[in-house]
Homo-oligomer: 140 residues x 2
DNA sequence: GAGTTAATTGAAATTTAATCTCAATTTCAG
DNA sequence: CTGAAATTGAGATTAAATTTCAATTAACTC
């Protein structure tokens, strides 16, 4: 499924389907949550697959270009990614106290953004909205 | 004006008002656009003021805590800041082709975000919305 | 299959933003 | 003024991400 997409993507660009790239792809899709490159690298090594740190970073870029993965946000320390398997567009709320990430999606919000783009004659392609605050648990 | 605010802020925390901090403050407010720490540091040196890179970074953090400056966004290469002098809250549209940054503000958008927070029992404190796409000029 | 070639890999070096260290300096309350 | 405590700066350090380059490998051709 995602393999076919990636394979096609590589094919179109004359890139090769290597063992390392497959390892990264597989590991990215084996886990349904946000992840950081370093951590992905660790998981790959632990599960006995192989791919150097350099390959992990390089493959991650390809995955983003292919649309299979998106850069979800940039934290103080590096990027956070997420794959897009049955994972439509959404935005994030981040608790400043415990770090929890809550995903949400609002049609209204999307529509208003479209309106705003129109009224600025801007062709919106993507967006990132990050709301920071305190989650329910931490408020108690 | 911003000096008074900063002075009070420092006072409340038992921090000192140093020449270096004043240099940073002054330079930050002398220019009404987004800026990066490195370039702020350069501007300070060029205008004959003094403050080491370390002090620039340290002061910038204080300015953010005091509310005089906000971290506008995180780019691939570091943070982008902006001061808040007659500069209410707003979000950004960034042209992927020419890099232009368009600021906008929408009451509707703010309201919907509040609704979303409420329905998630999340206490929203701040947010960043960044819409990427192509601006009017570049579309031609 | 074997041969060819361009893409890929990995370990280590490099880059770059940002933070930290610590001796010397400066602020400011009394 | 004086002294205690905060601050400074040059350079070291950290950490994410990228680059280097010789060795390896995928995949196309015959």
């Amino acid at each position: 499924m995602e393999q076919k997409i990636f394979r096609d993507f590589l094919g179109q660009r004359g890139l090769k389907l290597t063992r390392e790239r497959m390892s990264v792809l597989r590991e990215v899709f084996s886990f349904h949550d946000h992840f950081e490159p370093e951590n992905l690298y660790m998981r790959i090594r632990e599960s006995g697959l192989k791919a150097s740190r350099a390959s992990v970073y390089r493959t991650l870029s390809l995955l983003v270009e292919s649309g299979l993965v998106r850069k979800a946000m940039r934290t103080e320390r590096g990027n956070v990614y997420e794959h897009r398997f049955g994972h439509g567009h959404h935005d994030h709320m981040i608790c400043d106290s415990c770090g929890e990430i809550i995903e949400f999606y609002s049609e209204k919000l999307e529509n208003i953004q479209d309106e705003i783009c129109d009224s600025n004659k801007f062709k919106g392609v993507s967006h990132t909205l990050e709301i920071r605050g305190i989650c329910e648990k931490c408020r108690k």
